[in-house]
């Protein structure tokens, strides 16, 4: 599958590289101009984020270039690391050890095997039904009843958010859309671009115009100005990129809006978990961003909605 030679993919990638060059240039200028110490910290973090974006883009494009299997493997590893960060932060008991082993080394591979083999029927129920039921059974066999419901729920949540939800992004490759055969990689790229751009634009609007906090108890960085501005701008970009999708411009706007609202909700819910645990980031793997879970929190909520809207309306 020579995905990369599609002209529309090249156009999308050129746009991304253009944005990254712009980001690096802005970072360079700000680095020269910044005067205060607190400003210097913000600019240093901005530049770290842009650098990490270059790396993430390169990895993602390389995976996309291999056709389907590379994307499935990349998202499988992403899920694995995100689950690792999630479970590390949500305390489990000694009795959950074997259950966790199953979660990491059996459920993650099986879920992505189902994506790779386009086995939709099992893909869509494997974790919500089978893993959901297996987790408490395996834990109860270890004989520890203390906090049983909470422990079980934490593992189920981790599997749902970090594995099941994320796997809907590469699952876009299995959809059979009439008139769009063999072009699904663009749909995946489109989802990632719109959702991540929404995050970036919410950050940019928030840093420049942000005044009124939405839920200061959960996320002090989320403001009405940043969120509305970022989501509106990312939705507009989503509409303008309609040519890369099976959608009409208005449909693209609607679907991008759904993905962005879901993404916002995802960011908020994951922030609440971090707040509750008293930490700022899930991990340290991605410089400037925190952990993998911090980077994909919005994708976790956006991917399943995007997948099902497209599947219901276009296949």
């Amino acid at each position: 599958m020579s995905v990369l030679w599609d002209q529309q993919i090249i156009a999308l990638l050129s746009g991304i590289v253009g944005l990254l060059v712009l980001g690096s240039a802005v970072g360079l200028v700000l680095d020269r101009r910044v005067q205060t110490d607190s400003g210097r910290l913000v600019v240093a973090n901005l530049n770290a984020r842009v650098r990490a974006w270059w790396v993430m883009t390169a990895v993602f494009v390389a995976a996309l270039a291999t056709g389907g299997i590379g994307s499935v493997i990349l998202f499988g590893l992403t899920s694995f690391i995100a689950l690792r960060e999630f479970i590390t932060l949500t305390p489990t008991h000694r009795a959950d050890h074997r259950t966790l082993f199953w979660a990491f080394f059996v459920f993650v591979p099986i879920q992505y095997y189902l994506v790779a083999t386009h086995w939709y029927g099992l893909f869509v129920i494997f974790i919500p039904v089978y893993a959901f039921l297996f987790v408490p059974v395996r834990s109860v066999l270890a004989g520890d009843t203390q906090d049983f419901l909470a422990r079980t729920a934490k593992i189920q949540w981790g599997l749902m958010v970090a594995v099941y939800c994320v796997s809907h992004a590469p699952a876009l490759l299995m959809l059979q859309i009439p008139g769009y055969e063999g072009e699904n990689a663009k749909l995946l790229l489109y989802l990632i671009v719109v959702v991540q751009l929404s995050d970036v634009l919410q950050y940019v609007f928030g840093k420049t115009l942000g005044r009124h906090k939405i839920v200061p108890n959960v996320s002090p960085n989320k403001t009405w100005e940043g969120t509305v501005g970022g989501i509106a701008a990312a939705t507009l970009v989503g509409a303008l990129l309609w040519w890369a999708t099976p959608f009409s411009p208005w449909e693209a706007a609607g679907i991008a809006l759904i993905a962005n609202l879901a993404g916002f909700a995802g960011g908020l819910c994951m922030s609440a978990i971090k707040r509750d645990r008293g930490i700022k980031d899930f991990g340290t793997l991605i410089e400037g961003h925190g952990g993998v879970m911090d980077r994909i929190d919005s994708l976790c909520f956006a991917a399943p909605l995007f997948f099902h809207v497209v599947r219901y309306s276009y296949t």
Partner: protein, 218 residues
């Protein structure tokens, strides 16, 4: 009590050097092995790192968390009954970790173990010690054995750096063979010394509290 020479680790076969690199990478993959230097900075001076003990991975993780330069001159003190086995485990302990293997089973094991520690310290090596003596449940930190006190008394010039190892008991708890790849971390706290006139019990309690202050539970 005399100043020890700068430690020169024994020459390593290339397979051992390669194996050591692989071991560090593997440890980081499986257990995260993030290092947080909150009370001490990495420095190439002779030190004794002492840590809480809940997993067979502890020595490996602490060792892998050190910068490469320090790793070469830092020797984990490990139980001979677990590590001194023919085959891979013994090779890892002797050739890769350059561990000081001590016998904790026999009646006179205690004294012999202290002799081993003294010898290693006299050669100038830094040590990794687990003064609880045996793996705990991973939740609370047990009473410390006197070994650390004797080291502190014999070498008052050394920095004793408390290290709190987090999550290792969840990655590979006692009695499990298969690890779950969570993110472990090593937190290095401010060094302690034996105060003049400080008794054994008081010192060991203070050392234990230093571990608790870094995140452990009493």
């Amino acid at each position: 009590m005399s100043e020890a020479p700068v430690y020169s680790p024994p020459p390593r076969h290339w397979t051992a050097a390669f194996g050591a690199g692989l071991l560090v990478t593997l440890t980081r993959l499986v257990a995260g092995a993030q290092a947080r230097w909150v009370g001490a900075a990495p420095a190439s001076i002779q030190r004794v790192y002492f840590a809480n003990h809940s997993s067979h991975l502890d020595a490996l993780v602490l060792w892998a968390a050190l910068p490469p330069g320090l790793r070469a001159c830092t020797r984990p003190v490990a139980a001979a009954d677990y590590w001194d086995r023919p085959g891979l485990r013994g090779w890892i302990a002797r050739k890769l970790l350059n561990a000081v293997l001590v016998d904790r089973s026999s009646a006179r094991g205690g004294r012999e173990a202290l002799t081993r520690l003294s010898e290693a310290l006299a050669e100038g090596a830094s040590l990794i010690l687990f003064p609880e003596g045996t793996r705990g449940d991973g939740i609370t930190i047990g009473e410390l054995k006197p070994g650390l006190y004797f080291v502190a008394k014999e070498r008052p010039d050394l920095e004793l750096v408390p290290v709190y190892l987090q999550n290792l008991c969840r990655i590979l708890p006692k009695g499990e063979i298969l690890p779950v790849p969570l993110l472990g971390s090593s937190t290095f706290g401010p060094p302690i010394h034996l105060e003049p006139g400080e008794g054994r019990r008081a010192f060991l309690d203070r050392a234990r509290n230093a571990l608790i202050a870094l995140g452990g539970q009493p």
